[in-house]
C-alpha cells in the first residue's frame, strides 16, 4: 500500500515537474532560428538567455507587476476576510456549503468568458454606465477598461476565491471553546477577535496571500484582457517570447527567472515573519528571565 502511494506521488511529481524541467533545459539552449528545424537548439548550452532576459524592459515591467500583485493581493485579503469569517463562523454547516459553492461558482464558467463579461460590464457605454444612469447618477463615459484599475478589478475578481477558501477553512477550524475562554476571561467581542480569532487565522491569511500572489505575478491573461496595453505585466513579456518572438529559449529563461523570483519572495516573506516572531520571543524571554532572577 505504501509502495503504491509512493508510486502515485512519483507519477504525479513526474507529470508536474516534467514541463518545468523541459523549460529549465530550454532556458540554457539557443533559439533555433528561422531556417533550422526544431524550436530550441540544445547543442550550444549557455547562460546567454538569462543575461538577455534581464535587459530592459524586464525590470520596469516587473516593478509594475509586483505593484499590481501586491495591491491586488491586499485588496483580496481585505475583501476575503469578512467573507470567509461570515462563512466559517456565522453560517450553519448546510448553508456554509451552499455559500462556498457560490464562491467557487464563477470557476465553473470559462475564464475567458468571465473576463469578457467584465469587459461588457465595464465598457464605456456598458452595463455599469447604464446602471449608473438609471440610478440617476449621470456619467458620460466609463473609462475603467484598459487601465491598471481594470487589471485590479480582474485580478481581485479572479483570485478572490483562492483567498477565501483557505481562510474559511482555517477560521472554521478555530475551536469555539477558545473564543469562549477569551470571553470568559473578560474579553469583549472585538477583543476576542483581535487577540484570538485574528492571530489564529494568520496561517489562512498567509496561505491565501501565497496562493493569490504567486499566480497573480505571473498572470498575463487577466492583464491582457482587462488592462490592454496599459495593464502590461511580466507574464505578457514571457508569453510574447513564446508567441510573436518565436524565442522559446529566451521565454523559458524568463519563466525560470520569474519562478526563482517568486520562490525568493515567498522565502523572504516567510523568513521575515518567522524571524520577527523569533526575535520578539527571544527578547521577551530574556527580559522575563532577568526580572525573575532579581
Amino acid at each position: 500500500m505504501r509502495g503504491f502511494v509512493g508510486l502515485t506521488y512519483t507519477w504525479f511529481a513526474l507529470w508536474f515537474m516534467a514541463p518545468a524541467a523541459i523549460m529549465l533545459v530550454y532556458s540554457f539552449g539557443r533559439t533555433a532560428g528561422l531556417t533550422q528545424r526544431g524550436l530550441v537548439n540544445l547543442h550550444h548550452l549557455g547562460l546567454g538567455n538569462f543575461l538577455q532576459a534581464l535587459r530592459y524592459p524586464t525590470g520596469t515591467v516587473l516593478v509594475i507587476s509586483i505593484e499590481n500583485a501586491v495591491l491586488a493581493t491586499a485588496l483580496c485579503g481585505l475583501i476575503a476576510y469578512p467573507v470567509a469569517y461570515f462563512i466559517a463562523r456565522k453560517l450553519g454547516p448546510r448553508s456554509r456549503v451552499i455559500v462556498l459553492l457560490l464562491v467557487v461558482l464563477p470557476f465553473w464558467t470559462d475564464y475567458l468568458l468571465r473576463m469578457l463579461g467584465w469587459r461588457i460590464f465595464l465598457s464605456p457605454l456598458g452595463l455599469l454606465y447604464g446602471a449608473l444612469n438609471a440610478l440617476g447618477w449621470h456619467v458620460t463615459y466609463i473609462s475603467i477598461l484598459d487601465t491598471r484599475s481594470a487589471v485590479m478589478v480582474g485580478l481581485v475578481y479572479n483570485y478572490l476565491p483562492l483567498f477565501i477558501l483557505p481562510l474559511a477553512v482555517v477560521l472554521e477550524r478555530i475551536d469555539s471553546q477558545l473564543l469562549q475562554a477569551a470571553d470568559d476571561l473578560g474579553a469583549t467581542r472585538w477583543t476576542v477577535f483581535r487577540t484570538v480569532t485574528f492571530p489564529m487565522s494568520m496561517s489562512g491569511v498567509v496561505a491565501g496571500t501565497v496562493l493569490v500572489f504567486v499566480p497573480m505575478l505571473g498572470d498575463y491573461v487577466t492583464p491582457t484582457l482587462m488592462g490592454g496595453a496599459r495593464g502590461l505585466m511580466i507574464g505578457s513579456l514571457v508569453a510574447s517570447e513564446f508567441t510573436e518572438g518565436q524565442n522559446w529559449s529566451l521565454g523559458a529563461a524568463m519563466a525560470i527567472l520569474l519562478i526563482l523570483l517568486l520562490v525568493a519572495i515567498v522565502a523572504m516573506a516567510w523568513l521575515f515573519v518567522t524571524g520577527i516572531r523569533l526575535v520578539a520571543f527571544r527578547l521577551r524571554s530574556r527580559a522575563l528571565a532577568r526580572e525573575w532572577a532579581t
Binding site: D175, L178, L185, S285
Partner: protein, 376 residues
C-alpha cells in the same frame, strides 16, 4: 473580588458582601431547540453555593450539569429563572462581564500565545499595569509549579502541565467563582489523583469558591464540601458526601454514589428495614406494592455467614458465584433466588471467607439501621 479588609469602617460592607452566597440559581431552566424539537436540559434548578465552598455538580453525561456550569459562566443564556453571583442578579450579563472564570475540559489554552501570555490574558483585559501583571502572572504560575515554563507554548506541554496553566489562567484574576468543567477527565489515573489534591490545596489557600462538574463520584467525594446530584436536568439531592452516601434520596443517587445492593423485599426473611421510611417488611408483604419495593444495603454493611443460619434480624440466602480479592478487602458475589446478585465486602482476614468458595451456600444478614427501603 471580595476585599479582606478588617478595619471597623469596612466591616459592615465587607460582611454583607462576604455573607452573600457565591452563586444562587433560582428556578433556572434551559431548553435546547433543535430541528427535531425542543429538549429541556435544565429544568427549574434552584441551588445555593456558599462562598469559599468546594461544590461539585455530579451526574451522568447529559444530565445538564455542564449546561448549568455554562449558564453560571454566562456562556449560555438561561430560558427561565435568575442567576445571582455574589448577591447580584447577573442573569443578563455576558460572560466577559461576570467575575467568574472557567477551566475548560480540554483546557482551551490559546495555542498562539506563550504560557505567560495565556495566564496574563485575563489581567490584560482588566488593564493591569505591566509590572504588577508580570508579578501576578508569575505568582499564579508558581502556585501551580509552572513558573519555569512561562515562555513555552501550550503545545509543548503535557496534558497535566496544560491543566495547570489553565488553572493558573483562571485563578490569576481572583474571580468570585471558579468553574471547573470535568478538568481532570483527560488525565490518567495517577495524574488525576495528584491533581485532585492540588486543586483541593489551591482552593484552600486561595479561599476561592470552586464549582466542579464531574461524572466521577469518587472524584466528587474526594474533593467536595458539598455535592449536588443531577439527573435529567433536575436536582436530585444536595448534601455533603457523607449524607449522600449514607442517606441517598433515590435509587439513582445510590447507584451513582458507591456500590449498592438492591434486594427485592420478597426475598428477605425476618425484619427487613427501618428508617428513614420506618416501614417493616412484614407490613409491606401485605401491601399492594410489595413486589415493587427494594431493600438498599451497601456491600460493606452486609455480614457473610457460611451455611443456612437463622438470625433475629433480616436475612437472605444464596450461594457464592464469584469472589474478588482487593488487598485488605474481599468482595464476594452472592446469587439469591430469581438470579438476583448481591455483593458483600469483608475484611480479607475474616474467618468466614475461608469457606466462602464458589457454590458454597451462604446467608447474608444486616442491621436494619443500615438499610433503606426504596421504590423500585
Amino acid at each position: 473580588m471580595t476585599t479582606h479588609t478588617h478595619t471597623d469602617d469596612d466591616a459592615v460592607a465587607s460582611v454583607s458582601v462576604a455573607s452573600a452566597p457565591a452563586v444562587v440559581l433560582d428556578g433556572v431552566s434551559k431548553v435546547f431547540r433543535g430541528p427535531t424539537g425542543a429538549k429541556t436540559v435544565v429544568d427549574d434548578l434552584t441551588l445555593t453555593i456558599r462562598q469559599g465552598e468546594f461544590f461539585s455538580l455530579l451526574g451522568p453525561s447529559g444530565c445538564g450539569k455542564t449546561t448549568t456550569l455554562r449558564m453560571i459562566a454566562g456562556l449560555e443564556k438561561v430560558d427561565g429563572g435568575r442567576i445571582y453571583l455574589g448577591g447580584r442578579d447577573e442573569t443578563d450579563l455576558p460572560a466577559h462581564s461576570r467575575n467568574v472564570n472557567t477551566v475548560f475540559q480540554n483546557y482551551a489554552l490559546f495555542p498562539h500565545m506563550s504560557v505567560f501570555d495565556n495566564v496574563a490574558y485575563g489581567l490584560r483585559r482588566q488593564h493591569v499595569a505591566k509590572a504588577g501583571l508580570r508579578q501576578r502572572v508569575m505568582e499564579a504560575l508558581a502556585l501551580v509549579h509552572m513558573e519555569t515554563y512561562a515562555m513555552h507554548r501550550p503545545t509543548q506541554l503535557s496534558g497535566g502541565q496544560q491543566q495547570r496553566v489553565a488553572l493558573a489562567r483562571s485563578i490569576v484574576t481572583q474571580p468570585l467563582v471558579l468553574l471547573l468543567d470535568e478538568p481532570l477527565a483527560a488525565l490518567d489515573l495517577k495524574l488525576r489523583e495528584s491533581m485532585q489534591e492540588e486543586l483541593k490545596r489551591l482552593q484552600r489557600e486561595l479561599q476561592l469558591t470552586f464549582v466542579f462538574v464531574t461524572h466521577d463520584q469518587a472524584e466528587a467525594f474526594a474533593m467536595s464540601d458539598r455535592v449536588a446530584v443531577m439527573e435529567a436536568g433536575t436536582l436530585v439531592q444536595v448534601g455533603s458526601p457523607e449524607e449522600l452516601y449514607l442517606n441517598p434520596a433515590t435509587r439513582f443517587v445510590t447507584t451513582f454514589v458507591g456500590r449498592a445492593n438492591f434486594i427485592p423485599v420478597g426475598l428477605v426473611e425476618g425484619v427487613a428495614v427501618s428508617s428513614p421510611h420506618a416501614v417493616a417488611a412484614r407490613e409491606l408483604e401485605d401491601a399492594h406494592s410489595a413486589d415493587a419495593t427494594l431493600v438498599f444495603v451497601r456491600p460493606e454493611r452486609l455480614q457473610l455467614h457460611l451455611g443456612e443460619i437463622e438470625a433475629s434480624g433480616p436475612l437472605v440466602r444464596g450461594w457464592v458465584v464469584d469472589r474478588t480479592f482487593a488487598g485488605g478487602l474481599t468482595t464476594v458475589k452472592v446469587r439469591l433466588a430469581d438470579d438476583v446478585d448481591v455483593l458483600v465486602t469483608s475484611d480479607s482476614a475474616a474467618p468466614e471467607l475461608g469457606g466462602a468458595v464458589v457454590n458454597a451456600t451462604v446467608t447474608l444478614t444486616w442491621d436494619v439501621s443500615d438499610a433503606t427501603l426504596l421504590d423500585r
